[in-house]
Symmetry: C2
Subunit: 338 residues, 2 copies
DNA sequence: ATTGGCACTCCTGACCGCTGAGTGCCAGAG
DNA sequence: CTCTGGCACTCAGCGGTCAGGAGTGCCAAT
């Protein structure tokens, strides 16, 4: 069906189109790439590629442009890994080494990624439910108000002020703190529900309402809601990449929805393989004309995802290696201080 | 120089141009507004206005467009306050009442503001240095690592993990906590430096290195760095407002710089008066073709700023009242739970 | 001071024909 | 059966021309 040379032609088309953003014709193709055949032959191959749906001509007398299917074939079979340049490696290291805070790590990575790929970058904060609890703290603010602080081994700190149903003494708070630490410390947050389920029953009756309140907060606020943090950078690159103007608006809108961003990264759980979603493959309405390159990061098991988003006409090889490299560094950073 | 009617003409020009985004001519003007004079008269007035630099003609046979100076005159003298519609009031209330968290308040306000004005909205987190300390907590994570947590009366919680120069016992940490609370609680963070300055001298010698470390963290991290948080929403509205494409890129770039955003809001310290910066009045390179409407918010004294950014051709009256209204609500929200 | 009239400018959109890039097809060569 | 050169065809893009229209500036009259 598609012999070696046709694939080679497809690869050349994708590369040229990505570079120039103009439909590429048979003549240009044989000029710029050493295909060893004449334009006429290339035309035949292109005709075949068009029949198979890998490329398409915007209009009769124009060159061809890759379709989503064409890009798909390109990333799956044709693109060769593009190693990062020395400068890029240096940039990554110098960018990420100075980071103290978790916030800092995330913010720097997202900017770095945007800069490296010249595209929109997204980095998810380490997911709480996949982290384990390093420490829990109860701070007694006023008699009937405490602050619950939870620190995970990925360095993330979540806190929440809780109104109590009844005032408590300092001693009770100390007891509660010990109780929570005993139950939660060292455990993954995904097991928090199970670890706490028998608490109200096991405790003194007068503490039960307090405990249920606390449990609700731990479970609802810290586990579910807090999942949803992401950082974004490089939106200005959307203009550079010559996306048509009318296309931009829905994209910008989608990027403001945290939910959407999480969906983009959510499926990329595996820190070893890069996911690429191209154009229409994308589930999110409004991002149908863009591609997403994403991966999970984390020491061993994935704590979250990160990736870049750009026009389908993007440098896949470069993006893939940048995304992979940044993910590895971020994983190391978060693995280090644990 | 500029009699009553000329100003009326200027107002009409601004209003029409804002509504239609097209240069407005004398004929359209007398049709749409009850000026009571003929087009020819209006032409004379327009000619005068052009001589004074309030309006300009893009080319010979086009209508006139307001200049920055024209808009300035409009907001200073000509625009009448546009009261919010009932629907808008309802939107504000329902949007902001459900908010528990400070994060929640900020995020909701910024989205609300973007939605109300159909422009880019910016909300600064309550500035720490202008808040007072409600509580300080030291959490002993490992022998030589503590977490410092600081809660302000605006509901903001900042935390930071500190590596200690030497391991500490639990008792020492308890002592330190008491010390910090005694020195800081109830005081504005801007006085933190003064309140802590004599600490190392006053304490037991073996604690001095620890105290200096802690002080550094309190001052550098919590007071200075943390100043810089802002929330952003509505970037997609940039496309809607028919800013020319080449203009958009620098704007998007500027919006990604926290520093720039803070500069925009920084001068708006007063919660009673709305600041409007128009086009070239703007200090930030790249935002020269946009206008910023901003105000301070907070109970009594300003805790931070918020505002919107859009093309110079924007609905100033509407933006001003929306910005003012949201600021008032946010101020109330933050004043309430203190 | 205001107004109607008038000549002038020049943007806009439509129409036209040319050019060039690119294609598809075919017949011939290897 | 594959490749190639040749050739006719298509059509977007470009530049030029032209008419229409919106808008202006100026002037003389009220």
């Amino acid at each position: 069906m598609l012999d070696e040379r046709k694939l080679e032609v497809l690869r050349a088309i994708v590369e040229d189109f990505v570079a120039t953003n103009e439909p590429v014709g048979s003549k240009h193709l044989v000029e710029r790439h050493r295909l060893g055949v004449s334009p006429a032959t290339v035309r035949n191959d292109m005709s075949a590629l068009e029949d198979e749906g890998y490329i398409v001509a915007p209009h009769t007398s124009a060159g061809r442009v890759p379709t989503d299917k064409g890009y798909r074939m390109f990333v799956d079979q044709l693109s060769t890994v593009k190693p990062l340049s020395a400068a890029e490696r240096r940039a990554i290291e110098s960018f990420l080494t100075g980071a103290a805070d978790l916030d800092d790590v995330v913010r720097r990575s997202v900017r770095l990624l945007a800069q490296l790929t010249r595209q929109v970058a997204v980095v998810q904060y380490p997911s709480l439910s996949r982290s384990t609890v390093r420490h829990v703290e109860l701070v007694h603010l006023t008699p009937n108000r405490v602050m619950l602080v939870m620190i995970t081994d990925s360095g993330r700190v979540e806190q929440r002020v809780v109104e109590l149903p009844a005032p408590l003494s300092d001693e009770t708070v100390t007891d509660l703190r010990a109780l929570l630490i005993a139950r939660l410390a060292g455990r993954p947050l995904s097991e928090a529900a199970a670890a706490l389920s028998d608490l109200p029953g096991a405790a003194a009756p007068q503490l039960r309402p307090v405990l249920t309140t606390l449990m609700t907060v731990v479970l609802e606020t810290l586990v579910e809601k807090a999942e949803e943090r992401v950082a974004l950078a490089g939106t200005a690159n959307l203009t550079h990449s010559a996306l048509d103007f009318p296309i931009m608006r829905p994209v910008l809108e989608a990027l403001e929805e945290q939910v959407v961003l999480l969906k983009l990264l959510g499926e990329a759980n595996d820190p070893t393989t890069v996911h690429v979603r191209i154009g229409e493959e994308n589930q999110v309405e409004g991002l149908r004309s863009t591609s997403v390159v994403s991966i999970g990061y984390g020491p061993g098991t994935a704590l979250g995802g990160l990736g870049v988003l750009g026009p389908t006409r993007m440098d896949y090889a470069g993006s893939i290696s940048a995304v992979r490299a940044v993910a590895r560094y971020v994983g190391e950073m978060l693995g280090g201080p644990s």
